[in-house]
Symmetry: C2
Subunit: 187 residues, 2 copies
DNA sequence: AAAAAATCTTAACCTAGGTTAAGATTAATT
DNA sequence: AATTAATCTTAACCTAGGTTAAGATTTTTT
């Protein structure tokens, strides 16, 4: 994580030490939950190994993937985290995974004492926002085929690791229809 | 704008003065553009009067509304603004409008010298991100009727002021189909 | 106040994508 | 290695939402 942050901005020894001291490590088996509906999201989670997803389950029991995450990605329900409100989301591991966690009070401590790290997290959110915005545009304007091709382009690593069921759920179609789309792309 | 910011956090005289000194005022007629495809978005825009929208135009010429804004809302293509990259978006006025603008270098100056205002803009983005996330979830999981009802609930003021064409474009259906939805809701 | 432009509705017909279900393939678990 | 469970595909049929076009209504502009 430290190395990842250092790519965006160099940290001095003190900043590095403080960050390290506030981090806890967690190992997750395949399918194990990091967050479940009704929980309050208490941590920012940084994935160091594996692959995870964040999703919602509707009244019919269908899962809808909001986000994936792999090595060097953050995965957190920011809404629940900041408002201390129970989440409607789940986060679980698609593969055996390892995450680093920072608690809210520690994060706020770091924000107030280390402006450089504060800036790092701001840029993080700005980028996440820009991506979400692009995704909304796709959602309201593109066909399933276009959405699928965009997914392959944006997440080439992920698309080999995760099942089509997960991809279908992310772009908002059924796995059966995604299968049709893929066939028509092949010929 | 100052009053709006003050609701979220009290400003002292100096902060208020600096903000005021960096702001420029702009009046827009109905349908006038604040940003067009190909421009680099150079300002954060705060709406003091009127109603605006930000949208994309696809190859077929169809408009897709990404965001509306009314009094006390910010409307800006953050992606283009931060990367100095030409935008693919348009911002124009749905009603005669008035906006306050802050240039990028001034915003950065304020960020670095006034942590309180810096925090205000961070919260702004965090909230915008959370809303976008909720919208993606709706997009991939809900029917047109559900999306329409959510829009009415989330933006009760806007839904009386703007045309159904605009609402349809925001939720990602044709105006004709939105008309069907409304009829079936009325009975 | 009149003319022009934009909006809203309706209806007939079309299509992208959903549903159900079954079989084939692959991956996970014992 | 065998069993179980999950994934992927296919196909027949269904439905939410799109398309085209025309008329009625409302809003803007002159």
């Amino acid at each position: 994580m430290i190395n990842h942050i250092k790519k965006l901005l160099p940290l001095d020894k003190l900043e590095e030490e403080v960050l390290l001291s506030k981090i806890t490590f967690k190992k997750l088996k395949r399918r194990q939950f990091l967050l479940q509906e009704g929980d309050v999201c208490r941590h920012y989670n940084f994935i160091v190994e594996g692959c995870m997803r964040m999703y919602m389950v509707d009244e019919k029991g269908t899962e809808h993937n909001l986000q994936f995450g792999e090595k060097n990605w953050w995965i957190t329900d920011i809404g629940s985290f900041h408002s201390d409100v129970p989440t409607q989301l789940f986060i679980d591991a698609l593969e055996p995974s390892e995450v680093l966690q920072i608690k809210k009070e520690d994060l706020i401590f770091i924000y107030t004492h280390f402006p450089k790290i504060d800036r790092y997290f701001r840029v993080l959110i700005e980028n996440a926002f820009i991506k979400m915005q692009a995704r909304v545009l796709q959602n309201i304007s593109a066909t399933a085929e276009e959405k699928y091709l965009t997914f392959l382009k944006d997440y080439p690593n992920l698309s080999n690791r995760i099942s089509q069921i997960q991809i279908a759920s992310y772009i908002g179609v059924t796995p059966e229809f995604l299968s049709k789309v893929r066939r028509s792309l092949m010929k």
